[in-house]
């Protein structure tokens, strides 16, 4: 008994070492294949995370990425006390929440609608058309808005002028958020509906038959069969969207900005660009940018927590 125990303690670590070596030997080719991607992500995604400390330090040209002397919360205080603080937070939240509230249900409605079409060819034509704007670049989209909404020469601008909407919509504080959100829906509603259409195609046909036998009309089938079937997809996508909504709009908001709509169109990210890249106040800009990251992350956690409690669906 004692003898066997002795050999056990002696051989066990050896055997374990051997298995680690063995797995390494077995998997070294796999490691080599994934290594370039890992290195790339460490350099370009993780090192900038390490560089966030610049927000707490004085910027120093010679020190590079991580900055120089410790400055503590100086730049955060500077931002919170700046007269732009509440405007930026309000604009950022207003634009992103409106985008979610209007832009998120739109593809669900479109998918339910397209799913009703029985004429295959027509369905195909409609789908091909509504996916197309997704591939137009943001510069072209904003250019399109500019030429079409122009009050003197644009085709929509002239139409609106006839209907009694006066003035330049592109320079208007009131019209900025509607134009931003509606053009976003126009561009992405088709593309975002694909995933719901896939979920709808997976609905059990027996459920449809059962509903028909019960005498349900089409509207009742949508409400009681189709929508419940795609709820899990809806929740997962809602969580994913919440995590990224604030950071996706930078380019478009930046391009739509002009001096007249600036009171509503200046958001955290565009302000970070101006103070950091344009005016070289790197530490201050990094601190402001961290606000954005934190709001983003908070929204993700909040929605995920709610979804976990209410529907038992969670990302982690």
């Amino acid at each position: 008994m004692a003898l066997t125990q002795g050999t056990n303690t002696e051989t066990l670590p050896k055997a374990k070492k051997a298995t680690i070596l063995n797995t390494l030997r077995r998997d070294y080719q796999l490691w080599l294949m994934i290594l370039p991607a890992i290195i790339c992500v460490i350099i370009f995604n993780y090192i900038p995370m390490y560089g966030i400390q610049l927000a707490f330090r004085e910027y120093d040209f010679t020190a590079g990425l991580t900055g120089g002397d410790w400055a503590g919360l100086k730049y955060f205080e500077q931002f919170i006390n700046s007269h732009l603080f509440w405007d930026l937070i309000r604009n950022t939240l207003l634009i992103s929440i409106t985008t979610i509230v209007v832009g998120f249900p739109a593809p669900i409605a479109l998918a339910l609608l397209v799913n009703q079409i029985r004429w295959k060819r027509g369905k195909r034509i409609l789908q091909t058309t509504v996916y197309l704007p997704h591939f137009i670049s943001i510069v072209v989209l904003v250019g399109l808005l500019n030429v079409m909404l122009s009050p003197n020469t644009g085709v929509i601008g002239l139409l609106l002028a006839k209907l009694g909407v006066e003035g330049n919509l592109l320079a208007s504080v009131k019209a900025f958020v509607p134009i931003y959100v509606l053009s976003d829906v126009w561009q992405h509603v088709g593309w975002n509906s694909i995933i719901y259409l896939a979920a709808l195609a997976a609905v059990d046909p027996q459920l449809y038959d059962a509903a028909k036998i019960d005498g349900a009309n089409k509207w009742q089938i949508i409400r009681n069969v189709e929508i419940p079937a795609i709820i899990p997809t809806i929740i997962i996508l809602l969580i994913l969207n919440m995590g990224t909504v604030i950071s996706t709009g930078f380019e478009k908001i930046f391009l739509m900005q002009n001096s007249l709509n600036l009171p509503i169109s200046e958001v955290i990210e565009t302000y970070v660009y101006k103070t950091g890249i344009v005016s070289n106040q790197f530490s201050y800009a990094a601190a402001i940018g961290l606000f954005n990251t934190m709001i983003n992350f908070m929204m993700l956690v909040i929605v995920n927590t709610i979804a976990k409690k209410v529907a038992r669906i969670s990302l982690w």
Partner: protein
């Protein structure tokens, strides 16, 4: 035949009939709203700018004119931008695929122990990032600013979404038995990946290759943040200058102005034309590759 149709209609509940009519009407409306702006740009770019600017061109081109296209073809900025973007897009996509495909294969191997941890390592970057300024500082420290490399190596070189699509495809389409049989014959991972997995994965390679390609083609951000030298600027920056900063004519003279009038009319036609010219590659390819784009979403959605 008509009687059958009539019977079918008669057999339906009145609410369902109303419902169907509404569906058709709304679908036509949506089709019109999405298609019209694109159609309008096409006809406006070949019509007489005087008619366009007074709202007389609505459904058919009027007073044929190619003034806009003539301007664009003689504008060297557009061609330098085109050439640069073509180079960045092709070379960039090549590097994207070179990194993404093998990594996705590794992540699809169930016997690979570090798989779960590495998956988290990649997915984490989707939800948390260093932000604009630290990334800019990194690029500066690496001396990538104002070089073409920044278009190829940046935080989106390994796109996690594409990585997940590819991994899911490998998991569902490469049977595990196939690898076991291959290893028994002495086949290594390298060999198995290059001579069995890749030839079987043309569809997913096309899908994510196209995603990367379109992303490079439409990338405006990289040029805006990291490039100062105008000779290196991609097409989207040139487009911005023409479309939005109203620097329509290369010589700078008569650059439209916002006061409307004669010059603005012609400037607008150049804009319509340049929208077409810059989107042409995507628009021409779109009908042929549309099914691949759609496929990507479907593959990716199989397992969330």
């Amino acid at each position: 035949m008509p009687s059958i149709t009539m019977n079918r209609i008669r057999n339906k509940k009145p609410t369902d009939l109303l419902f169907d009519a509404t569906v058709v009407a709304v679908c036509i409306l949506i089709f019109f709203i999405v298609a019209y702006p694109i159609y309008f740009i096409v006809i406006a770019s070949i019509s007489d700018p005087t008619y366009v600017s007074t709202g007389k061109v609505l459904f058919v081109p009027k007073g044929f004119s190619l003034f806009g296209y003539e301007q664009i073809f003689s504008d060297s900025r557009v061609w330098i931008g085109y050439r640069n973007t073509l180079f960045y897009a092709l070379f960039g996509t090549f590097v994207n695929l070179l990194l993404t495909l093998p990594a996705a294969y590794v992540l699809s191997r169930h016997e690979f122990k570090a798989r779960r941890f590495l998956m988290f390592f990649f997915i984490f970057t989707m939800f948390f990032n260093g932000g604009l300024i630290p990334t800019y500082m990194l690029m500066r420290d690496l001396s990538l600013i104002d070089t073409p490399w920044v278009f190829i190596f940046n935080p989106l070189t390994v796109n996690v979404f594409n990585l997940i699509i590819t991994r899911t495809f490998f998991e569902n389409n490469i049977p595990h038995e196939m690898f076991e049989a291959a290893t028994m014959d002495g086949c290594s991972h390298f060999k198995f990946f290059s001579s069995i997995v890749l030839p079987l994965s043309k569809a997913v390679t096309a899908v994510i290759g196209l995603y990367y390609l379109v992303w490079h083609w439409n990338d405006f951000f990289t040029g805006l943040i990291y490039i100062r030298n105008y000779d290196l600027q991609p097409l989207q920056i040139v487009l911005r200058d023409i479309l939005l900063s109203n620097q329509v004519f290369a010589e700078g003279a008569g650059s439209g102005g916002t006061g409307g009038g004669y010059a603005q009319r012609y400037a607008d036609q150049v804009k319509y034309g340049v929208i077409i010219v810059s989107s042409l590659p995507v628009l021409i390819l779109y009908p042929f590759i549309q099914k691949y784009f759609e496929k990507g979403v479907l593959i990716g959605s199989v397992k969330g």
